[in-house]
Amino acid sequence: MQHPDEGTIHSWLDGALSPDEAARVEAHVKECAQCQAAVAEARGFIAASSRILTALDNAPRGVVPATQPKKRDRMAALVSGFRPADPMVWRIAATVLVVAAGTLVVVRNGETYRQPNTTSQAAATAPVPIGTDESVIAEKAALKSAAGGNTMAAPATPPVGPKDENVTPIRARGGNGSRAPEVTRDGALPESRADRIEQHQKATVLERSAGAGQPNGAAIAVAPPSAPLPPPAAPQRFQTLEGRVAGMAAMDAAGEEPAVRIVGTPKAVGKKITLYEVTPGDTVQLVEPLLVSLDQVVVTGMGATVQAGRANARVGKAAPAAKVAAPADTNRAVPETDVATATSKAPATMRDTAGVRETSKGSSLRLRGISWGTNTIVWIDSTGRAISLSGRHTEAELGVIRRRIDRARMAAADSAKKNH
């Protein structure tokens, strides 16, 4: 055989040759010192070029400012329709909706869609309180209880009396289920494609929810069936311009809600990493230094109870006006101090920037997916461990997610206790 050329050697090393060819090259190389040198060199090039390309990933992301205010402002302006949009931005927005929104459309529109085929989901929103620490998302929650609370009630039993009346403004505007509700159409999504996409998404969500409904339904059924009425004023808010923005925020909150799910626990030395899925395709990473701690152990393998906890948390958030009940309360049993809200490109480079941003008022208006960088928040828990949570969210959102994780864990620990 002739000496294989450099391209063939690379193909061989890359495993791209047919078995026959590979065998031939191998046989030749075994006996040809010259080609052995060439192979060694090629291996060197392959390794070195990989390493060089990896160095690109270390590049400081100089173009990304700490908080990316520009983007967020831009998007906020777009959402409220103040400025004509670059079509690209709309496409991105549409994608973000598709990918991140997940079940939220069910929450908002499920009732119109699901009425024809009534499903088995238990119908009740529960009077569970939100703790005082919920003030950040109070607005979201209020809106949600209008949109989400109704929806939860809708699928199974025919809506009862006054609740139904509350629904009406939205449903009337949403039409007979074949169209997107006015909330989003009303000028907020001028491009018809975005609209179509939203409909696609609804269709998917509908399918998915049929399968996914069960565990939630079970958990919800535990709660008292007397649902508190959502504030009657809330639906009307959707009709104002401001309301549209708020509506998006509500969507955001609703979309986040059902899914603090543990999707992975990558192994790491000296720390415990948990990946939580916030919405489909959207995960955050929780890093805790590894200490021997009982509740930590309890929480880890607790798929089912975490799920129950999730439902609890969800119910709690959905009913802001309600009376005090246990699960959300336990949340405050562990006092935690925010030491820093850091923005960083990598978890290792946390920095104290602007203090506790998650309590800022504007937080409820921020949409997920608009912060493209990865942010990290850090806090010290009751045992003095520095825990960090990072994800592609604003710090405010991370703050909310953190509470959701906390709550899910609390509930998980709680129900674990009950089981013993």
Binding site: D5, E6, G7, T8, I9, H10, S11, D14, A16, A42, G44, F45, I46, A48, S49, S50, I52, L53, A55, L56, D57, N58, A59, P60, R61, G62, V63, V64, P65, A66, P69, K70, K71, M88, R91, I92, A94, T95, V96, V98, V99, I197, Q199, H200, Q201, A203, T204, L206, E207, P280, G281, T343, S344, K345, A348, T349, R351, T353, W372, G373
Partner: protein, 178 residues
């Protein structure tokens, strides 16, 4: 429900390929934000497809073409630069962990990658994301037989120009020291 399936599929595509695609584009463009925009646009395009034969090759090809189209649009570039300048003025938090050393390495890597011919560069970046020869050939409209040659050339040149940069830097430092 075809429509629903399609969206679900895009979701799956997104989960499966987004990380690799963004890394590929970031390496290609040197700008993470831009890379993410292009990646998202790519998935939006996927949404419009009824069927995609080889997903990975398709996604990388579309992303590559988007980059090419974008690069042609002078406007887009100017806007981007304007944005950069604007953001530069804003309070910028440099990751402190990025040492000078690493920054220099990254800058040299960038230079070396930029010095490659476009096709070589793209083939190499795709290979680094795990695309096989057939996928690379499909994405770049090459014949599968020429991928090995393309890659070997790309790797050799990348390494050689990186080493040349390294050498000249060392010399500069030596001169500065003496």
């Amino acid at each position: 429900m075809i429509v629903g399936e399609r969206v679900t599929d895009v979701e799956r595509l997104f989960r499966t390929y987004n990380a690799a695609l963004v890394r590929y584009l970031t390496r290609r463009l040197g700008d993470r934000d831009w890379a993410e925009e292009v990646a998202q646009e790519t998935f939006v395009r996927a949404l419009r497809q009824t069927s995609i034969q080889n997903e990975r090759a398709w996604l990388f090809a579309v992303a590559t073409n988007l980059v090419r189209d974008e690069a042609r649009k002078d406007m887009r570039r100017r806007k981007h630069l304007a944005l950069l300048a604007e953001e530069e003025r804003d309070a910028m938090v440099e990751p402190e962990e990025t040492t000078l050393e690493r920054a220099q390495e990254a800058a040299m890597a960038r230079k070396a990658v930029d010095a490659l011919a476009e096709r070589d560069r793209l083939a190499l970046l795709m290979r680094e994301e795990g695309l096989d020869y057939n996928e690379i050939a499909e994405a770049l409209e090459l014949s599968p037989g020429s991928v090995g040659t393309t890659l070997s050339r790309a790797r050799r040149r990348l390494v050689e120009s990186y080493e040349a940069l390294q050498k000249s830097r060392e010399e500069r430092e030596k001169n500065a020291a003496s």
